[in-house]
């Protein structure tokens, strides 16, 4: 149970004869939404290749953040990742795609082009100056193109927003859109180090720690310590 409460929003309450997990539906639902984002990839130019396809591949691996099931159909997606220049001819199609997605839907705009028109803002007869002229955007990820790590940073930001945001009592009430820029002076090695740390922390299930953290009723405590001895000796034998 300790493993569960570390990750799920909620608290363990002791009642006679056992423990009960207490949480709120809002939090459970937001937790589930944040960790199972299915992106619809809207890649129209260089950003899509340099960043979006790179994050889907095995080197950067979007799957670690629960967002790897890239959908070709808006009906099955709840996150729209915009990557690339949007032109006037494309704008109505983008609007249609967005409206076909089921609520709740989230939008990440990556790259200078989708944020503002980017390099094509002047002297262009057709580049739309920012995706937010067409659809609402939740997270902006700047760069030309952004590093794959920056998309992860944006994705983690969105997950945080979802966990703190919208409740089922007040649907549609969101936090303001955010710019998920990497802080200045941060190097690629720093980000990779932090990501590694985070992943190790999130993905290693420390059973012994969980057992120790729980205060078992007196009879169970003996059993658990006996079990942990067995575990340790088992591990010792194995190595």
């Amino acid at each position: 149970m300790g493993v569960v409460t570390d990750k799920l929003p909620g608290a363990l309450e002791k009642v006679p004869g056992g423990n009960v997990l207490v949480t709120r539906f809002d939090e459970i639902i937001n937790w589930a939404r944040a960790n199972s984002l299915w992106p619809l990839t809207f890649g129209t130019s260089c950003c899509a290749i340099e960043m979006l396809m790179a994050t889907g591949g095995p080197r950067h691996d979007l799957a670690r953040f629960g967002a790897e099931v890239a959908r070709p159909s808006p009906r099955q997606a709840d996150l729209l990742i915009l990557a690339g220049t949007i032109v006037k001819r494309m704008a109505p199609r983008l609007r249609t795609l967005y409206e076909q997605m089921a609520e709740p839907r989230y939008v990440i705009a990556t790259g200078a082009c989708t944020i503002s028109g980017g390099p094509f803002i002047y002297h262009s007869y057709t580049t739309v100056r920012g995706a937010d002229e067409i659809i609402p955007v939740d997270v902006y990820v700047p760069g030309c193109p952004p590093r794959p790590e920056q998309l992860f940073h944006g994705l983690l930001t969105l997950q945080k927003m979802i966990k703190e945001g919208e409740t089922i009592r007040e649907p549609g009430v969101r936090r303001k859109p955010v710019i998920s820029a990497l802080p200045e002076g941060v190097t690629l090695e720093d980000i990779q180090g932090q990501m590694k740390e985070l992943l190790v922390k999130e993905n290693v299930v420390d059973v012994q720690h969980a057992v120790d953290k729980l205060k078992w009723p007196s009879g169970l405590n003996e059993r658990s310590s006996g079990k942990s001895d067995a575990n340790e000796s088992g591990a010792g034998d194995g190595t």
Partner: protein, 155 residues
């Protein structure tokens, strides 16, 4: 064939063909607009040249000279050589015969150039816009194109 030899051999074909020497990396010639389809057809059919593919068709807006330069890039699978054929047309009345009957692929390439430069291809079966909306006004890749949407860089 080598670049110079090919260029000279193509210029032998007809008096409407002149060499174009600014272009140093592949054989290039200038052709009179009226003679264009006949010459492209001969370049395709004569085994010595065998230019079976029209790779690309683009236009350049030489606004100072008041001309559009229409460039046809040809390639031969047989001899593996390239040729660039240019046609100069006046900006005020840009008309040129279509190449659809010689290379069917020219139909869409010419529609693209019509869409962005407004060059009129005589005898083209379906000269409509390709990339822009059908009700678009003007031809945006002309150097003097202006509309209300465009922003100028602040100085």
């Amino acid at each position: 064939m080598e670049r110079e030899a090919l260029q000279a051999a193509v210029c032998e074909l007809d008096s409407a063909v002149r060499p174009l020497d600014e272009n140093a990396d592949r054989a290039a010639v200038i052709v009179e607009a009226s003679a264009l389809p006949a010459i492209i057809r001969r370049l395709r059919d004569e085994p010595e040249f065998a230019f079976a593919q029209l790779l690309d068709h683009v236009a350049v807006d030489w606004i100072d000279r008041g001309q559009f330069e229409l460039i046809y890039q040809l390639y031969s699978f047989k001899h593996k050589h390239f040729l660039s054929v240019s046609v100069l047309v006046p900006r005020e009345d840009p008309r040129v015969p279509t190449l659809c009957r010689v290379h069917p692929v020219a139909e869409w390439q010419e529609r693209e150039v019509y869409d962005l430069f407004g060059v009129l291809y005589e005898d083209h079966p379906d000269l409509r816009r390709l990339f822009l909306e059908d009700d678009w006004i003007g031809f945006p890749l002309r150097k003097d194109y202006q509309d209300d949407f465009m922003l100028d860089r602040p100085r």
